[in-house]
């Protein structure tokens, strides 16, 4: 049993036991309330730059496999749990969680009061933190922590986006879609394919001109890590697509689209990370239970264009969860209709996207 320490920038410290890779991890500490789906969470590129603690205390019960991946590898900086299971039990399980983390060089700590940590984050807000299995000296860890960059103003998509375009969903499909990879999740791609799209994934730095040249039926703006305010170079390109192609954004994609429509974002106190948030579709008044993973949020008041409509709102804290344009073919949501992990209630949005592409194509023909 090797000791490990988690320290927050405000000096809050928990001692535990290391169970992943040896080392030190720095990042913003956030909690996720999903009770299942830790492997999807680990491999979600949106967690780049973050240390994740699971509020559910028993993690690793079903091990890790090579199917429930949201990208090719884990991205979290560090992983914090109450008790990781030494064995795993599931017919699809391949490796114990600890082995999986060690293989991918993720520092992990168990045996800590994750509820106390969560309460701390809720009360004081998301903070920088450090997990270390090497240096166990509080002062020195605190210094390292304070020297690390925060989330605000940070461009992290360049670290997770693909270097070259690639395709997903071979074979003949009704729609061809270009997907900006800001840290895209496999489940978004799976969902697009299931909705009848063949997808060309392009790097975050792709220009509007290049996208238009591909003549897609629509453009998908993916999720991703970091502060949208730091991504004006992407926002500019999105501006060039608005009105010309149907657009569908998720999470960071939604924030960027909102910025392109003239909006601003702000940082939430401790973010939304989990699979149980109620979101109301203001048009149908129906509530969907949604997967959430974001630290920044769109300020609806900052969008002056009266044609931009709020479509979805979070019933927990009334924050913006979705918008659309009254005249132009575009809509986006803050949450994760692709799930992975999380409920499938919002999966219909992919259908809404294909409907939009279909009617756009029709309009163009006339």
């Amino acid at each position: 049993m090797k000791k490990a320490i988690l320290l927050l920038e405000d000096g809050f410290m928990l001692e535990g036991v290391s169970f992943g890779a040896e080392g030190e991890a720095l990042g913003e500490v956030v909690f996720n309330t999903s009770m299942t789906g830790y492997q999807e969470i680990l491999t979600d590129p949106s967690y780049k730059g973050q240390i994740v603690t699971m509020t559910y205390p028993l993690i690793g019960n079903y091990g890790a496999n090579d199917e429930d991946l949201e990208s090719a590898r884990p991205w979290v900086e560090g992983f914090v749990v109450k008790e990781r299971s030494r064995v795993y039990s599931n017919w699809r399980g391949r490796w114990p969680l600890a082995d999986y983390l060690a293989k991918h060089k993720i520092v992990a700590i168990e045996g800590v009061d994750t509820r106390a940590l969560t309460r701390r984050l809720r009360l004081s807000g998301a903070m920088r933190g450090i997990v270390s299995t090497l240096d166990l000296d509080k002062e020195s860890l605190l210094a390292k922590c304070l020297a690390s960059p925060g989330m605000i103003g940070r461009d992290l998509i360049k670290e997770v986006t693909c270097s070259y375009p690639y395709e997903w969903g071979a074979g003949k499909k009704e729609f061809s879609v270009v997907a900006f990879d800001f840290g895209i999740k496999y489940n978004s791609l799976r969902s697009l394919v299931k909705a009848g799209c063949c997808v060309k994934i392009v790097p975050a730095t792709t220009t509007a001109k290049d996208v238009l040249a591909l003549k897609p039926d629509g453009v998908f703006l993916s999720n991703g890590p970091g502060d949208p305010a730091a991504l004006s170079y992407v926002v500019d390109e999105i501006k060039g697509l608005i009105g010309r192609l149907p657009l569908f954004g998720i999470c960071l994609g939604h924030q960027l689209l909102a910025c392109a429509l003239g909006g601003k974002t702000y940082k939430l106190k401790y973010g939304h990370h989990g699979g149980n948030h109620p979101v109301m579709d203001l048009e149908t008044k129906k509530v969907e239970i949604t997967a959430q993973n974001h630290g920044f949020c769109v300020d609806m008041d900052s969008i002056k264009d009266k044609s931009v409509k709020l479509t979805h709102v979070n019933l927990y804290d009334k924050t913006t969860e979705g918008i659309r344009h009254k005249k132009l073919p575009l809509f986006c949501v803050q949450y994760h209709p692709e799930a992975g992990p999380g409920p499938h209630d919002a999966g219909y949005l992919f259908g809404r996207f294909t409907d939009m592409m279909r009617s756009h194509a029709k309009k163009k023909r006339h």
């Binding site: 909690f31 039990s89 699809r92 109620p278 927990y316």
Partner: protein
């Protein structure tokens, strides 16, 4: 109108009071006028303030119709009263009653209920939405069944349609079992239909609690994984929340399936329980069943998450949508979300096989447990161990149950363990521990039990750590780790050759303090306002201790025979009452089925085991002004001495007085002083002492251990040989306490008295005359208030004796006395210096909330100021009847004795005894006939008294059938009697008559103290075929009165409020 679930029976426990109470409250809050029917007086929901019109009447279609005709409700909510509620609702809908009176069924309508309950319709519906089910075939006859089994193969699952808790169902492993189960199944089904189903024994079993609103928003409240795999009823399984071994992909797949299912079944609003099985080898998922109502699991899910399913279901039923209802716990967020938890919940069933010798102790698809304990911990290991010590079965955690020295060879030991692992039983969990201790490989345990490796591995962690504890020197780190793994101080002491107190002091000296965390529905994502706590060993404690005057109420723990809902009722009342007078109330209990563990019953709720350690930990945190031990039954009472030693202020009757009442010798001295009479008696610690006592007072004698409830291990003994046998048995139960021997009073009338006192004023609350004679446990007898046959002078003697004893004991609060009356002499059988089982019944009969008054008195108020100083003798008659679980234990004799066997009770109220009695019988499911054949077979002693009874039945038009001796006696008095062969004389005998439905009523008193085998068969067969069987002359007399009332066909219904306003 809300339908309650009636008496507590196996598979339908007090969780329906919890749900029903929430529903009543929620609807009243919305300004609806609530009409309630429930025959169970021991429920909170039937307290007059919870509904506008409360009918304590039989929950049968006939009576519900009468109530509807009288009250003309606009809507009927059938989903709160368990299977009983659904069945009655469907029955009256079919009869056209709802249409006739313009009543709308809300929550789930008739079509939805039928779709979920009728296995055939269910299968069709599930296939329609693309869900997989076990292959199956519906049959309506034995011949059809044989054909089906040929194609489905063995083992095979037999499920009767329209029953509850799997009554009459089972798994057949061979053709013999198959034939037996088919006959029983067809018999039990309300529509004589049975589903034969492919067995998926050994698959993983899961449950989801789902809610839907009228806008079709659907949410999952909780997932539950069964520790015991398919084949053991979920009610009998250890279950864990949330599901532990599903990936998100599988969980979401199950969630989608459940959502599709609730939509297809058409439960418009409210809660629904969906059960699934998953093949652990390949993940094939099949749907097992849907309960379109609140259930035992929904109660568990509510307690496990903090989300009040029943309350929300009631609000949804009247038209709210989930997003319009706030989450009480977080206040700011709405109910339209899915609770997440950051702890592990383990529920463990409580069994009472020891009370039913001869019952098949194997667990299967038909439920057998009578209660449950729930425990919360940060890990499965911690929760499991807390749960095991919550059961109160003399285990302090995952204790060892085999003693190596009992086995001559290791092979025999391993054989024994193997056998206990292979067939599911009530103690299997302990044998898993022992198998690991004996080095059995985990894979072998898994293949024997089919329990998921994840659970077994966690148990191995516990066992491994046990070995470390045993073999190392105790250190602070080890002790802390032990506490984190859920080990109790007592358990650690046992493993380290020390005492519980030593470990406790070591723990506090090492600074290892218990921390308390909140159950908040949201894993700390939001601030929670409802103080619902569990203990664990972590770094942060979330309790905020107030400086108000605090009273802690100790609950009764898991329900069991002898200690059930009645005690919870009293605890809840105490909490309500103390809140009224400005105290802060703190409830401690571990029973998830109850109202006491509802988060808004008390100011604070600690969901904790009812052990000395756990209770003292809370006390040292909260430092309450006072602690109440006299309301939760024997469980808290047994803690009295330890609490007192720890300096706790026990309010109410003093611990010294409690000790006088509980300790036979001290008690005897007191009675001598008061010149009160007791049956001749003595105490003994050895067989020799016992022998001497028995020969002094003369046989028959009653032997029993002290400090037990429900007559456990109590027997009437007629000779020395039997005496020896029982001394051995009794000393097992009683531990260090002595064994009590009383002269058994034959043919005496038993009387129960409840009284309340404040140290100055002593008021008799109710005198209840038993219908069955002394010797039948007071918890099993029918009783009537006011007495119907006792003379005024005897009643006066009883009254005076009661008050004299209460004065002597300086009772503050409640006291119960049991008397036996013979030849106008009054004998005191026992005094219980606490709330008794009859408190709720008496409260309802006289219209005075006794437990509330008691709590206020304990907090220092006076009865004079509370306005209760005089005994109330109602003009109407109230009868309490008991309900028994014999239909769960085929082959077990239904004879009653001094050991309690009933699981619940009903109340019948009416103008006179006959009417009240028949109502109690109908409510208890005893379907007394108004015509047909009565079979009579009584012992010689009863032959004279039976003649008059038989004659009345004969005159009422019944055909009389009897065995030889009885027939002879009856014929002499000029009755026409058909004589039947004895069972051993071959057929056709009485058994054939019963099976052919030719017998409508049985009167059978036991021939001797050891029942003859054929008698047992007759009685047991009668139960299985739903033929009422009366085993005492007094019961027979009362029943004939009842039948006469029935024939008059003028039984009416009246609300409790109407009765009470009359007094």
């Amino acid at each position: 109108m809300i339908i309650g679930s009636g008496p507590i029976i196996i598979s339908q426990g007090c969780e329906f009071d919890y749900s029903g109470t929430q529903a009543c409250k929620a609807l009243k809050e919305e300004g609806y006028k609530v009409v309630l029917v429930n025959s169970n007086p021991a429920t909170i929901m039937t307290d007059p303030e919870f509904a506008d019109a409360t009918y304590i009447e039989p929950v049968t279609p006939e009576f519900v119709e009468k109530i509807i005709a009288k009250e003309r409700p606009d809507a009927l909510l059938p989903t709160m009263g368990g299977q009983t509620g659904l069945n009655v609702a469907v029955a009256i809908a079919k009869k056209g009653v709802l249409k006739k009176y313009g009543v709308e069924m809300i929550g789930a309508d008739r079509r939805a209920i039928e779709k979920a309950e009728d296995r055939h319709l269910f299968k069709k519906a599930m296939l329609k939405i693309g869900l997989d089910l076990p292959r199956s075939s519906n049959v309506k006859s034995k011949a059809g069944a044989r054909k089906a089994v040929a194609s489905l193969g063995l083992p095979i699952v037999i499920r009767p349609s329209f029953t509850l808790g799997g009554t009459g169902g089972g798994i057949a492993f061979n053709m013999q079992e198959f034939e037996d189960l088919i006959s029983r199944g067809l018999e039990c089904s309300m529509i004589h239909e049975v589903l034969l189903e492919e067995s998926v024994i050994g698959w993983k079993e899961f449950e989801l609690e789902v809610m839907r609103d009228r806008k079709d928003n659907v949410i999952i409240i909780c997932s539950i994984e069964n520790f015991d795999p398919m084949g053991v009823h979920t009610g009998d399984s250890i279950t864990v929340a949330p599901a532990q071994t599903l990936t998100d992909v599988e969980y979401q797949n199950m969630r989608d399936a459940a959502i599709r299912a609730i939509r297809e079944i058409g439960v418009d609003t409210g809660g629904c329980n969906v059960q699934f099985a998953i093949n652990p080898k390949n993940g094939r998922m099949v749907i097992i069943e849907i309960n379109p109502r609140v259930s035992r699991s929904s109660a568990l899910a509510s307690k496990a998450t903090g989300f009040p399913i029943a309350k929300i279901a009631a609000k949804l039923a009247v038209g709210y949508t989930l997003d319009e209802i706030p989450n009480d716990i977080t206040k700011e967020t709405p109910a339209s979300f899915e609770p997440v938890i950051d702890y592990c919940v383990v529920k463990i069933p409580r069994f009472t096989f020891e009370k039913f010798p001869g019952a098949d102790p194997r667990l299967g698809t038909s439920m057998k447990s009578v209660g449950e304990a729930m425990a919360i911990g940060r890990t499965f290991k911690e929760a499991l161990q807390k749960g095991l010590r919550s059961l109160e079965i003399k285990k302090s955690g995952l204790d060892s149950v085999v003693r190596e020295k009992d086995f001559d060879t290791r092979e025999h030991l391993m054989e024994h363990i193997t056998q206990k692992l292979e067939t599911p039983n009530d103690v299997r969990i302990f044998y898993i521990g022992d198998a690991l201790r004996q080095g059995m490989p985990l894979e072998q345990i898994q293949s024997l039990t089919a329990i998921d490796a994840w659970f077994l591995e966690n148990i191995r962690d516990i066992v491994d750590f046990e070995a470390i504890l045993k073999n190392s020197k105790m250190t602070k780190e080890l002790l802390r780790r032990a506490k984190e793994l859920g080990f109790s101080d007592k358990q650690i002491a046992g493993l380290t050759n020390s005492t519980e107190d030593e470990i406790t002091s070591l723990r506090s000296a090492s600074g290892i303090v218990t921390t308390y965390k909140l159950v908040d529905t949201c894993a700390a994502e939001f601030e929670a306002y409802t103080p619902y706590f569990y203990s664990t060993y972590e770094t942060e404690d979330e309790v905020r201790v107030s400086d108000k005057k605090k009273v802690m109420i100790l609950g009764g723990g898991p329900n069991r025979i002898g200690q059930g809902i009645e005690f919870d009722y009293c605890c809840v009342h105490a909490s309500f009452a103390l809140k009224e007078i400005g105290c802060e109330t703190i409830m401690v209990n571990c029973n998830p089925e109850t109202v006491s563990t509802d988060y808004d019953t008390s100011d604070k709720l600690y969901f904790e085991p009812m052990t000395k350690e756990d209770v003292l930990n809370i006390i040292s945190k909260e430092k309450p002004w006072g602690v109440i031990v006299q309301l939760g039954g024997q469980t808290p009472l047994n803690l009295t001495l330890s609490l007192q030693k720890a300096g706790v202020n026990i309010i109410g009757t003093s611990p010294e007085s409690i000790d006088i009442a509980e300790d036979r010798e001290k008690f005897k001295n007191m009675l001598d002083k008061l010149k009160l009479r007791q049956p001749p008696n003595g105490t003994a610690r050895t067989f020799d002492e016992a022998k001497a006592v028995a020969s002094r007072i003369g046989y028959p004698v009653l032997v029993r251990p002290s400090y037990v409830l429900g007559g456990r291990a109590m027997e009437i003994v007629y000779d020395e040989d039997t005496l020896e046998k029982f001394i051995v048995e009794a000393s097992k139960v009683s531990g260090e306490h002595p064994i009590l021997i009383d002269k058994f009073l034959e043919d005496a009338i038993e009387v129960d008295v409840d009284m309340i006192a404040d140290g100055e004023t002593f008021v008799v609350a109710g005198i209840l005359e038993h219908i069955e004679e002394a010797g039948i446990h007071s918890g099993d007898s029918a009783m009537v208030l006011p007495p119907y046959s006792l003379g005024e002078s005897v009643i006066d003697k009883i009254r005076q004796a009661t008050v004299a004893m209460a004065k002597e004991l300086k009772v503050v609060g409640l006291m119960n006395v049991q008397y036996a009356v013979r030849d106008n002499k009054v004998y005191i059988l026992e005094v219980n210096p606490r709330a008794s089982r009859t408190v709720p019944f008496v409260s309802k009969a006289i219209g005075v909330p006794l437990a509330k008054l008691a709590a206020k008195v304990m907090a220092g108020m006076k009865l004079k100021d509370l306005g209760f100083t005089k005994e109330i003798i109602p003009e109407y008659s109230s009868v309490k009847e008991s309900v028994f679980p014999f239909n769960r234990f085929p082959g077990v004799d239904i004879m009653l004795g001094p050991e309690m066997k009933s699981t619940g009770e009903v109340m019948g109220i009416d103008e006179d005894f006959g009417r009240a009695y028949i109502k109690s019988q109908l409510a208890a499911g005893q379907n007394l006939p108004v015509k047909g054949n009565v079979f009579i077979s009584v012992r010689d002693k009863d032959k004279r008294s039976i003649i008059f009874i038989a004659k009345r039945l004969f005159d009422l038009g019944f055909g009389v059938v009897a065995t030889g001796g009885t027939a002879k006696a009856l014929k002499k008095s000029g009755m026409e009697v058909r004589t039947l062969k004895k069972v051993y004389e071959g057929g056709p005998n009485i058994l054939d008559y019963i099976k052919d439905g030719k017998i409508n009523l049985i009167i059978n008193t036991p021939s001797g103290r050891i029942p003859r085998e054929d008698e047992v068969k007759i009685r047991s067969t009668a139960i299985m075929h739903g033929v009422p069987c009366i085993t005492t002359i007094s019961g027979a007399q009362a029943s004939v009165n009842g039948i006469e009332v029935l024939l008059k066909k003028d039984l009416d219904v009246k609300s409790l409020q109407a009765y009470h306003s009359r007094k």
